[in-house]
Symmetry: C2
Subunit: 533 residues, 2 copies
Amino acid sequence: MTDVSPLQTPPQDPSADDHSRLAKLTLRRVLIDTYHENVAYMHRDCEIYRAEGFKALSKIEIRTNGHSILATLNVVDDHNIVACGELGLSKAAFAQLDVEEGHSATVAQAEPPASIGALHRKIDGERLRAEDFHSIVQDIANHRYSKIELTAFVVACDRDELDREEVFFLTDAMIAAGRHLNWHETLVVDKHCIGGIPGNRTSMLIVPIVAAHGMLCPKTSSRAITSPAGTADTMEVLANVELPMGQLQDIVRTHRGCLAWGGTANLSPADDVLISVERPLSLDSPGQMVASILSKKISAGSSHLVLDIPIGPTAKVRSMPEAQRLRRLFEYVARRMKLSLDVVITDGRQPVGNGIGPVLEARDVMQVLENDPRAPIDLRQKALRLAGRLIECDPDVRGGDGFAIARDILDSGRALAKMNDIILAQGSKSFDHHQPDLGLLTLEICAQTAGVVTGIDNLQMARIAGLAGAPKVPSAGVDVLRKLGDEVQVGQPLYRVHASYAADLEFARQACARSTGYTIGSAADVPHVFVEF
Amino acid sequence: MTDVSPLQTPPQDPSADDHSRLAKLTLRRVLIDTYHENVAYMHRDCEIYRAEGFKALSKIEIRTNGHSILATLNVVDDHNIVACGELGLSKAAFAQLDVEEGHSATVAQAEPPASIGALHRKIDGERLRAEDFHSIVQDIANHRYSKIELTAFVVACDRDELDREEVFFLTDAMIAAGRHLNWHETLVVDKHCIGGIPGNRTSMLIVPIVAAHGMLCPKTSSRAITSPAGTADTMEVLANVELPMGQLQDIVRTHRGCLAWGGTANLSPADDVLISVERPLSLDSPGQMVASILSKKISAGSSHLVLDIPIGPTAKVRSMPEAQRLRRLFEYVARRMKLSLDVVITDGRQPVGNGIGPVLEARDVMQVLENDPRAPIDLRQKALRLAGRLIECDPDVRGGDGFAIARDILDSGRALAKMNDIILAQGSKSFDHHQPDLGLLTLEICAQTAGVVTGIDNLQMARIAGLAGAPKVPSAGVDVLRKLGDEVQVGQPLYRVHASYAADLEFARQACARSTGYTIGSAADVPHVFVEF
């Protein structure tokens, strides 16, 4: 049992036969959602539990039908959950075994995953080699790490612990552990933002613009992790985003673009597992951010990527030197991976657009596509500039011409037509952005003093929208009515909170009472625009 | 909900009343042992789950009856575990609420524990202040940290991350979070080993010796964490070790000593929680080791401590410079805490005594106390030297006289008489060390080549004894028959494995096949004795 066999292959280690001599337990699915952690449940009185010397939270190896998984043991004292002689498995763990309930399995004390030695070297501050990262990432992707081990890896790799060579190794290992898409074209473009800016839904404008230009842009997006809406959540207001891979590929071939959820694509399974501990810790170190983003883009078959790094006092990146450091790290790893990368540092001082939350953001996007006079200008401008940069990846486009081409596509209605094609192809939902279905419980936060808006806290606005219910309640969120530099009088509304449940509105109200997220001052106090591009 | 109220006190924050307006759930105990982590279970279809926008693994705050706890949410799809309208709580979490099943409770999204900011600063490599450690340790002791947050703290504080001032702060914070014992005497002695050496049961000899000398020695010990036996496990072969605090204090007053399990004493509750992640990670950084050991000793009321740091190629400490560094850290923190500390660096090249496992170790201890000619000399000598150092804390004893006094107490049978008094007082168990009840399934590992024993791997011997069933099966373990420097012929047994279950013996056999733990060579290869004392 030293060398635990990988998933989906028959056991290969010399002691494999010993499992057949061990007592058997009957498998039972325990309908507890432990997210990405494999948990096994055994009754305290079960003879095998007693005989094997297992301890609560110890790692056990489960074998059945040629498969082998590791799981963390929870001891149970309730026969309704598992009886003696049964082995309960959490939903995630059960799914990996590919057998029916009632099948028999053997259990043994697990040897630690092969990569634990490398993990300990990283905890001790050592530099790891390519093969160490491959071994760790494979174990993570195969669910062989417990939540505790995952956390140890994430924390040990945090800020300043990975050098750029290691970030390249990690990226490469993440790609190797997942699925690769091949579009059989030389130019496959994509766009990504490192996140942190509410309302920043430029992808839903850029994809139809560049696809209308004829470029292949198979955009898969994430759902919100800690934010009040991800692109997938907002797109879901307009269309189905959970598409089988075959259908997604058909849509991309037909329409040159899509706006789908990437969760089913299995492009970087280790990254999906790591998020389960990064999210509760709010950890997002440069090395892991670069590896996570670039591994997914490269696995998705992109050849050219435009990357948006917003900076501002409440953005993820708060100073120009920090943004430049991050840019260099992205560029180094992209070059090693042969991905053509164009980093754009953007204004992240405040939310982009007006709406924060899926329905509100979908409204903004459709207003821009329809050239509606109410459309938020900042969202339109930012999308055009980024789309322009992508269009300039086209060898037939002269440097500097991209913006005008993008604007022409948008103004002419070709972007809207392309978006409607994509929506129809993915499966459209009924949505009228002229009368969006917003949460009916509302709350307006008004200025307490007259002056000029000098600050809008991205984090607090995201928090308020989240407490109001977004993204789980798509109609919930915050409608921003005043932006940086706007003059306000006492009592004028700064933003409106929408919720669908009284408790949610109450949570949001309490958050607003602690901090509105706005500062009002004089025009001179509006922070410097970090970027003009 | 910003300032979450501490356990056992009524809510104090301004938003407390808002909980009374929230929908109520009925509490249910879910008999799953999640060790020290609070886990809450809600049905996926429960309206409150849906309305509140909770996510799997998100942290929720539960309030009932003036109590408030945080828990990690697991989503359940089985009405037999929790039904809609019910809130399931793991055993550990339920116990903290001090209410009956069926009681109602409110839930809300939890604000992060107050100390999360400090945790993030430590992850970023900052030096923390005393108040940061107090805040973190209080949150840990009050079960407000998830397993993920605990792991992040442990890893961030690992090797070289805490300076000695921070270790002092951490120690002080751990003491403040627990119970303090006061023996109302000026001289309260204790002895501790940093661990890692199998069979090293000197405490069970030192306590009766120094108590027979009249010194107060209220020894509380741990059970095995990763080792095949802790002092509490071995003492439990002879006597009851789980004593209510009142009885324990009575025994100490009457007999000047005890050998009890410290788990019920609540001396350093944060440390008990941290062990739940340190154990699976096998992490034991110097800072945390010092804080853990010294906080428990000081909380237990000790004024004088002799600390044993064994060094050897497979001990926790592997070089003299490392041992000296650790000694200085212990001494610095002890001086800040006004604990009189005597650090003894000892020979950790091999197991101490012959037996590894509760029954085998109890046999060795009783042989030494009875001056049995079969008694292991190394165990006797080490115990006498450490006891001598403790006896020299007595102001009436001249420096250098301790060893002779200890030897006289042991040789005269006074130590045995004292041990029998303590065993009787704690509640004796039937144990005949002349015919110890050893596991009947045995396996002898024999020398493959002739020569001299030049190495015995502490870790491998502990591992084999653990796989054989120790400490859960007290009669299981390893009986060491040859020690360093002993000559062996081909086929002569090196050690004997005892087990009570066939599967255990099989696991141990496989481990022995991978590595016996022994190296045989020539007399010149026996490693240098690091220490003579």
